[in-house]
Amino acid sequence: MKSRRVGSTRGFTKAYAVSQPVRCKTKLTLGWHGQTPRNRAIECPMDAARGVCPCRRNREKARASVAPYASFHPRSLQRDACPCHPTQARLIDPAPQLVHDTHGYGQYNVIPCILGMCGILLSIITPQASAGGFDYAFHIAQQRVVKLYGMGAGQQVGYGTGMIASEDGYIVTVLSLLVSGNRIRAVTANGSRYEADLIKRDADRQLALLKLKWPEDVHQPLQDKPIGPLPFFDFTCDPAPQAACHEPLLPGDWILAAGNPFKIANGSEQMSLAHGVFSVRTRLDARRRTKDFPYTGDVLVIDAITSNPGSPGSAMVNLQGELVGMIGRLVISNRTHTHLNYAIPYDVLADFFKQATQASNADMAKTTIPTEVEAFDTGIRISRTGYRTILPFVDRVVRNSPAQRAGLRKDDLILSVNDHEVSDVSQFDKRMNVRGPAETVELIVLRGRSIVTIHIEAPEAKKAP
């Protein structure tokens, strides 16, 4: 499994480049011998297999978004392959001159069907190199990530990966020193070179939005090749119901990450593919060196090793080639003290993209300023004398305080605050200080030999704003 080749991707690219007419019939027939045309039929196999489209919602809206491409690849509309990913439809028929439906077979005709059956028989009797099943997703991902180069210092490397978020060149990546310099360069999958501007930075989520500069914007154009509309990942899918944007991701699902760790790839060279499974969705509690990592939202932990320089910003896709996350910055988990391999989930990215492209700078700032209102006093008093590690034993509970009403007693040992383990007083203080103004506190305490859960409600008077 580890050494599986991404077999046919090169052939795929070739299919784009070759502009000579190829007949449908020929393609299908040739396909069984593992040559280039075989890839033509990779067209969203998952969708065909399920008989459903990955996007269950916003289908009409998405169909409308496909419309601009209809003029030069009408068949993609017939197929209606991936409405939420209009460019995937473009991928199926990358250039109009490739499509010569001279026989008028249409899409789901009898003859391709018979040929398909023959293909199954042939594939059974002819030994053939297996493509694996990851190649489709890798191809989708690899076309939609860019190699980034920028400022670096010491262990902060000056290279990385970004994901194309629109056909006119928005790039979503991680916030790092790389994008903080005054010159950022991006290289797309076909080797075209661009300069990029930093449009938005989100320090809380450690995300950045870049925009590629078009030739007329730069005085000395870097690119020597013509640039067309770029293939991109769709970040505009409504993230609220997660299933609407991609297949629901469950622990154990295959994931693929395409990026440029250690800047192995240059120019038009392929990105590096890493495969693994999605482990669990959990809240991030991590640090970089000695500083706590500012992002504390949900992350997708994976078992592919992606905590490498250059990997942050890599696109993480599922088997269907749908974007499910972006590899985050290199951090060390506070829960396990290990380097964490994780991705920022799609819904967080989509939310960021929406804010970054629509909101003004002031709006962005407003959402990130923490509230100034202080949290209510629970009435817990902890003994702070002792040795190096002071366990959070309750020393006293203030009379008529929320804690007393909740049933907390003297000498209870506090084990966790809001599902965060606290093993000493400083951690307890930290957890209590990050509460919202009226947030309920759930404590798990040890009382004698029994373990008790205590809900401390905010006092009524202070609940009102």
Binding site: I42, M117, S123, A131, G252, G276, R281
Partner: protein
């Protein structure tokens, strides 16, 4: 869901897909369908194993540090002041205080996990059962050699996972590791294959599923959801934290069912396993073998009649060429087990039976009793030897 039904589902999916995908090239879609079927199984296993996993939280305790090097300039002084038979703690890995994973071992509340999770010697251990009950737990016993630990909670009628017979496990089959180390109720899933059998003197199966503090103590399952064994940190050296630094690197170890079925009943009686020691200090001499330099008093080797200058030729029938061979034969054998040792003295072989002792049972190590002959070259030291200028044999 029972393991048997897990098997049926992917098969159904796999059989049906050729019909559905008839219009598309068969091979490509066969591959894709197989991938979908596999991930479906991984999902099922994650969901089904949830009812056997327990989350372990610890409170208090301290980070086990490296050996204190108070007198590093004076190596002789340092050697005298410290017991050379003490287990070194090993890597400089820092243990976090996040939750750990265990698995239900008996219906009446025995929980099996890894001793790694208690290296900090916590003052309190609590266990959250699959049904959400959180109970205080007692640490019944630990196996410092196989890195296992047994907990007891006051619970009844817990459901038990199916265990995989170790005899049938084959290299190359799927290995799915589960853990609760990232918190929450959902286990994390990492997937790999069985890399090798009979590692660490038959005490471990090797896997490339990513094992880390997030799932040490948790089960590693086969593709049918049966537990192959318990994920533990392990390395070919001693120390409470040995092997942790290899986390997520593609080399991980599982204590298999065949070993657990022997060890766990003994742990239930409260018996802990300590690392076993011969109580000798040795030197590797090329062409000669492992030469005994000095013997602790009391020690198993002294009791068995060995004297300085003896050459340790073989242990349990395995021929020894150097110190590394000797260490490899011994480091996974707990105190109390008996070894057959073949010594060479004045050209004749002497076979003795030696019961390994724990570090506490060993006496002082006299200064080199065997006269040191500078004309005999000392063999290149192993990395382990470099840490300890005069390595005591295990």
């Amino acid at each position: 869901m029972k393991p048997r039904s897990i098997l049926i589902l992917p098969l159904l999916i796999y059989c049906q897909t050729p019909v559905v995908m008839a219009q598309l090239p068969a091979k490509v879609n066969d591959d894709a369908a197989l991938m979908i079927a596999t991930q479906q199984v991984f999902r099922e296993i994650a969901a089904s194993m949830k009812s056997y996993l327990v989350r372990i939280d610890t409170v208090g305790g301290t980070q086990p540090g490296e050996q204190l090097n108070l007198d590093s300039d004076n190596k002789e002084g340092r050697k005298r002041s410290q017991n050379p038979f003490r287990d070194t703690l090993g890597s400089g890995f820092v243990i976090a205080d996040g939750p750990a994973t265990g698995i239900v071992y008996s219906r009446d509340g025995y929980i099996l996990t890894s001793s790694f999770n208690f290296a900090r010697r916590p003052v309190l251990i609590s266990v959250t059962l699959p049904d959400g009950r959180r109970l205080a737990a007692d640490l019944v016993a630990r196996d410092h050699v196989r890195k296992l630990a047994l907990l007891k909670v006051d619970a009844h009628d817990l459901s038990l996972p199916t265990w995989r017979d170790t005899q049938d496990v084959q290299v190359g089959e799927w290995a799915i590791a589960l853990g609760l180390g990232f918190g929450g109720r959902e286990p994390s899933v990492t997937v790999g294959v069985v890399s090798a059998l009979n590692r660490m003197q038959g005490n471990a199966i090797q896997t490339d599923a990513k094992l880390s503090p997030a799932n040490y103590g948790g089960p590693v399952c086969d593709i049918f959801g049966r537990v192959i064994g318990i994920a533990v940190p392990m390395a070919q050296r001693a120390g409470e934290l040995a092997g942790v630094e290899m986390y997520d690197c593609g080399v991980g170890f599982i204590v298999p069912q065949s070993r657990i079925s022997v060890i766990a009943p003994q742990l239930m009686t409260g018996k802990s396993f300590q690392r076993g020691w011969l109580g000798i200090q040795v030197r590797s001499v090329p062409g000669v073998g492992v030469v005994v330099q000095s013997i602790a008093d009391p020690s198993p080797m002294r009791d068995a009649g060995a004297v300085p200058g003896d050459v340790v030729k073989a242990i349990n029938g395995f021929h020894l060429r150097n110190y590394a061979d000797l260490a490899k034969q011994i480091y996974m054998i707990p105190a109390g087990e008996t070894l057959q040792v073949r010594l060479f003295r004045d050209g004749s072989a002497i076979d003795i039976d030696v019961a390994l002792a724990s570090a506490e049972a060993l006496g002082m190590l006299p200064e080199a009793e065997e006269p040191f002959d500078p004309s005999v070259p000392v063999e290149e030291r192993t990395p382990e030897d470099q840490k300890e200028p005069a390595p005591p044999s295990p």
